[in-house]
């Protein structure tokens, strides 16, 4: 199926290479929905796309952004020999997931200033989202933002794949992005940019939904929609399990 898809894309892209019409870009993800079931341990996604009017100097940047979360970041300080969380700062609308894949290392595609201006790349995104917090505090928020970056990288929720975008013939490209086991549920946005001379000249977005399914979804909804009933159910199940253990013990 993917072969046919690529073939039709190839037909579409071929003649445009020679013309000099304004650049444009299209893209789609192999999945529109990712289901988290009891056996979920991560998932690989492929984003396919095609460009029109792409030249040899052009580069592709693909960003997949997860649902926004509010975070609290605290700095550990030693008090009486014990490390205690203190000096909290709160950040709103921080993406829970942020993956970037590029056809060249990002710093070779555009300058940090240009990226900051267009909000592409994790440092630029965090800086923009943290602006309200920065306005409220007199503290230096950079170490806090670095900590958010480190925490995300540790869980593979923030990832950068240099050369993660493969440029194929005829203006086609393919990016592989992996969702880690800790993937948060919610709405994701994939953005694809065509960079020329250090500037994004065309962009396109596609959406993705990550949701719980099957037993996962049933338990999660039960626990959140009828929490007290769920608690009673857990107790009944536990007592039954204990009773079964008691019977197994006494049969001997």
């Amino acid at each position: 199926m993917i072969g046919a898809l690529l073939f039709s894309l190839a037909l579409q892209g071929q003649p445009t290479l020679l013309t000099s019409e304004p650049p444009s870009i299209v893209a789609a993800l192999t999945h529109e929905t990712v289901e988290i079931r009891e056996d979920f341990s991560g998932q690989e996604l492929v984003l396919y796309g095609a460009t029109r009017g792409m030249t040899i100097q052009d580069e592709i940047v693909v960003v997949l952004r997860g649902p926004a979360r509010d975070l609290r970041v605290m700095e550990k300080q030693r008090t009486f020999g014990i490390w205690i969380n203190s000096a909290p700062l709160e950040f709103e609308n921080i993406p829970s997931y942020y993956a970037i894949a590029t056809s060249l290392p990002l710093e070779e595609i555009a300058t940090p200033e240009s990226l900051a201006g267009s909000g592409i790349g994790l440092p630029a995104t965090l800086a923009i989202r943290a602006a309200p917090t920065a306005a409220e505090t007199e503290r230096d928020i950079r170490p806090y933002l670095d900590a958010i970056g480190r925490a995300g990288s540790r869980n593979n929720l923030y990832a950068e794949a240099q050369r993660g975008v493969e440029i194929l013939d005829g203006g086609l490209f393919r990016a592989t992005i992996s969702l880690p086991p800790l993937t948060p549920v919610g709405n994701y946005v994939a953005e694809v940019y065509l960079f020329r001379d250090g500037r994004a000249v065309a962009s396109r977005s596609a959406s993705l939904r990550v949701e719980k399914a099957g037993l996962e979804r049933f338990v999660y909804e039960f626990a959140h929609d009828w929490p007290w009933l769920y608690g009673l159910f857990c107790v009944v199940l536990a007592v039954l399990a204990g009773y079964a253990g008691y019977l197994a013990f006494n049969r001997r």
Partner: protein
């Protein structure tokens, strides 16, 4: 869109490894790790006759379960393990129901208080520290006392079979416990004491159950023996009776208020625990009581030192990122 995506949702690749995604903890863990943890802690709890919550909860932290979920889920698991023990003692009538109900009354109040305190500290971002400090404090004191007591017992035995002092009821010294008001008769235990100490002990244990994810047997059993001076044959049954109901209440409160009970995690740990406990009980029969207590004391102190060390040693990351109102990032 230029080309059609097939639009259907795609199931993630089937994993040959036995990873299971926990619906409430929201992480993926190896099934055998959970069954193994359950069996290992179950083995020790069967061998020593303790609940094992004080070992399991820190172990769950170490494998990455968010502390709030670990503590609440442990309450549910202990509920299962104490149910089978309590039933056995009920059948054998080695259970002081009246004393158990008093301990339970205190325990319920403690559990309600503990769940509130837990939610409050979580909102401040200090729950991990508080849990660790509680563990270090309680395990340090209990482990230290148990260790001294068992060493003394071993030395006494080696010195030549002198009978344990203070065993007979008549020789019991009067303490401040006997001067407290609201006295009540406990026929099963053969006691006539104030209701204040049992209610207070129950409340302390209920609070611990909610905050530390333990049954609290390691506090309650020594307290019943040394403070209430209950006869040892009803101590374990009565303690299990109280633990069963307090952990049941804690489970419902944590589920209802904080939505942090993971039934899948609890059941996997329970299955491992039931099997492990049987082998543990068999292994324990070949060891002497004092030696078992000394070994248990060593383990309690080891967990205490590990958690204490983690509080003091410079952390790998000096910043902590927390999701608002939920566990870690």
């Amino acid at each position: 869109m230029l080309f059609s995506s097939n639009g259907s949702s795609v199931r993630p690749r089937a994993s040959p490894a036995v990873q299971i995604y926990l619906p409430i903890a929201e992480i993926s863990v190896n099934v055998f790790v959970l069954l193994g943890l359950g069996a290992g802690v179950g083995f020790l709890s069967g061998m020593f006759g303790v609940g094992g919550g004080f070992l399991m909860t820190p172990l769950l932290f170490f494998i990455g379960i968010p502390p709030a979920v670990a503590v609440s889920t442990q309450a549910n698991q202990i509920c299962a393990s104490s149910a089978s023990g309590a039933l056995a003692h009920w059948k054998r009538k080695t259970l002081d129901l009246k004393m158990g109900l008093l301990l339970l009354a205190g325990g319920s109040a403690g559990s309600i208080l503990g769940v509130q305190l837990f939610a409050y500290l979580r909102s401040l971002g200090q729950i991990d520290l508080f849990i660790s400090l509680s563990y270090v404090g309680f395990l340090g004191i209990i482990g230290g006392l148990m260790f001294l007591e068992s060493v003394r017992a071993i030395l006494r035995r080696n010195a030549g079979g002198a009978r344990r002092a203070g065993a007979g009821g008549g020789r019991r010294r009067r303490t401040w416990i006997d001067r407290l008001p609201f006295k009540m008769r406990f026929p099963t235990s053969g006691l006539y004491i104030s209701v204040i100490p049992p209610v207070a002990i129950g409340a302390l244990v209920g609070t611990l159950a909610a905050i530390m994810g333990v049954g609290g047997g390691f506090v309650m059993v020594p307290a019943m023996i040394y403070i209430l001076r209950m006869p040892t044959n009803v101590v374990v049954g009565t303690s299990l009776f109280q633990i069963l109901f307090v952990t049941a209440l804690t489970t419902v409160l944590q589920a209802g208020q904080n939505q942090t009970v993971d039934i899948v995690l609890a059941m996997l740990l329970t299955v491992g625990g039931v099997i492990g406990a049987q082998f543990g009980a068999r292994a324990g029969r070949h060891m002497k009581a004092e030696e078992l207590r000394a070994l248990l004391a060593f383990m309690v102190i080891a967990v205490c030192l590990k958690l204490g060390w983690d509080l003091v040693v410079t952390p790998a990351d000096l910043f902590e990122v927390m999701q608002h109102g939920r566990g870690g990032l």
